[in-house]
Symmetry: C2
Subunit: 330 residues, 2 copies
């Protein structure tokens, strides 16, 4: 049987158990050109909270009674598709379920001998690609620049900071609590800011005395404003996400946006899906950095599809270390 | 005697008479290399409200008891500087005063035979240059795109819209009241939105059914949010000013900034001072458009340096038609 998580209703604020249905269906049978994937790991990401509102973002909303959209990695256990033979492993939008039936077209082959499976939905998956293209293509960082990143201990931010270090930037990371700050230090960040125990505006001024050249924002809210107040001439503010705003309808707009004018700066939105054609190249470079020990990643893996909602909520409470992953194989 | 306006104190909210001193001094005498200018016209611009706060923006604040900073155009009446002979006309930062002593280095020669003097602080001065570089260099408009401009009947916005028309764009202007909307129509704007009598969000949706490619913002506040809600993929949002926010300390931050992510769009600040080296080229092109009847401008001229504050306030009440100018010559 295939256990799967369906969207039962759209949450107000933080998602609750009642917003989901744990459904069980027969394992689907494979038609011509199709593959059946047994999912091992499901990626839990902040953007999922956006997809369950009824607002069209860059993707259509997940429909009521539809399988919750999510990135996955798993093994092909039945195949009528030459591209993906039985026993091979694939990653893609498999959804929060134990088995995925797919035409294989949107599934990428991955090799479990080269990297542990969860890596393919982490640093070599969407979060890693987001970090890579966000800081390099959108951020256009140059050696010697100061890079500030919020959510610096998270799946995307931790990689953003490390890539910026590899490229010779000064890196300042923002995260909540001493444990995450220590993690950022271990990754080689030059300075860390604990937003739960420090005044963020003052801390940015202190750690970025010349101002911020690139601010990579994963959180939004007041922290975005504190960063905007400290940008340097021709700064780039990369809007990757705004996790602090995903469970409220009363969005905090950045009051200091006029500093973009004073500093002739740019604020731009980015989306990793636009870079799909270059994923492979990026993954190769990231893989090299990982082998050279320059890029470290950590997955925080929880077990059981039944625990989907309580695990998902760790994204918003911050109770997780590194990339959040749900193991769904039994 | 030289009548001049000094900043007496920094205003809270709208500037009052008491925030200014109408001072009278001896007409200064000319030293080696210097010129004495008899100012005819003073430019009144929204940015002046920023310069009298105590916050460093892109220029230092005007100091207490200093002459109020402003653009001017006037005649050289004494000269010990070969670049600017007696009888020639110059434009520059002469300040709100009847006579300016200058070393001439930051004064531009202008020719009253080619265009009426007020034009040199209007469409051929800072507002015109702001519009030109803002919409062409920063906006990077392409034929067939939809351009939305707020403050569309103002000194900058009216020129932005007309240049966008010249370049083959569809132009939608926002302004307050039927008279200003009629003015925008007379200038050739395709559609106009009266923010005092229409629901701006709905009006943008109706007039820009494909979405907004370039939004040129002079006003900030809710109108910026309504525009952000209607941007198209890869839109450019040019932050030129935010006149609705200059007399308050409680700045309205744009809540819809996350649409930059959905639409992979850019919000950028621009400042005309960065383009100084290209002013001459721009003025030539704008002058040609004016002679060809493609670019129309209007100055609203008030008289008397004594009426500085009440005239200045017309910027914020909207009680003016076109570029606001104060005639200070007696």
């Amino acid at each position: 049987m295939n256990k799967r998580i369906l969207l039962a209703s759209r949450p107000e604020g933080l998602p609750k158990e009642e917003n989901w249905t744990l459904d069980t269906q027969e394992i689907p049978s494979v038609g011509e050109g199709e593959i059946l994937i047994r999912n091992h790991y499901v990626s839990l990401d902040p953007a999922m909270r956006i997809w369950i509102t009824n607002v069209k973002s860059y993707l259509p909303p997940v429909g009521i009674d539809e399988v919750m959209r999510a990135g996955t990695v798993g093994e092909v256990i039945e195949s009528k598709n030459e591209s993906h033979p039985v026993g091979s492993f694939v990653s893609g939008w498999g959804g929060v379920q134990q088995y995925t039936l797919s035409d294989g077209k949107t599934m990428y082959s991955v090799d479990p001998k080269l990297a542990p499976l969860p890596t393919y939905i982490g640093s070599l998956g969407m979060p890693g690609m987001t970090a890579y293209f966000g800081i390099l293509q959108e951020g256009q960082i140059k050696e010697g620049e100061t890079v500030l990143v919020s959510g610096g201990a998270g799946a995307v931010g931790s990689i953003v900071g490390q890539i910026a270090k590899i490229k010779g930037c000064k890196v300042v990371g923002i995260a909540g609590g001493p444990e995450k700050c220590q993690y950022m230090k271990n990754l080689g960040f030059d300075e860390v800011i604990d937003y739960k125990n420090e005044h963020v505006y003052k801390a940015i001024r202190k750690t970025c005395p010349k101002g911020v050249d690139v601010y990579f924002d994963n959180v939004g809210g007041e922290i975005l404003d504190f960063a905007l107040a400290n940008i340097r001439m021709h700064a780039r503010v990369i809007i990757c996400g705004a996790i602090s705003q995903y469970n409220t309808n009363d969005i905090y707009g950045p009051k200091n946006y006029l500093n973009l004018l004073n500093k002739r700066a740019i604020m731009k939105g980015m989306l990793v899906l636009d870079y799909a054609k270059d994923y492979r190249k990026a993954a190769m470079e990231m893989g090299q950095w990982m082998m050279q020990g320059k890029l470290k990643t950590k997955e925080d893996i929880y077990e059981g599809i039944e625990n989907f909602n309580e695990t998902f909520l760790r994204l918003f409470s911050g109770q997780k270390k590194g990339k959040l992953v749900l193991k769904v194989i039994e």
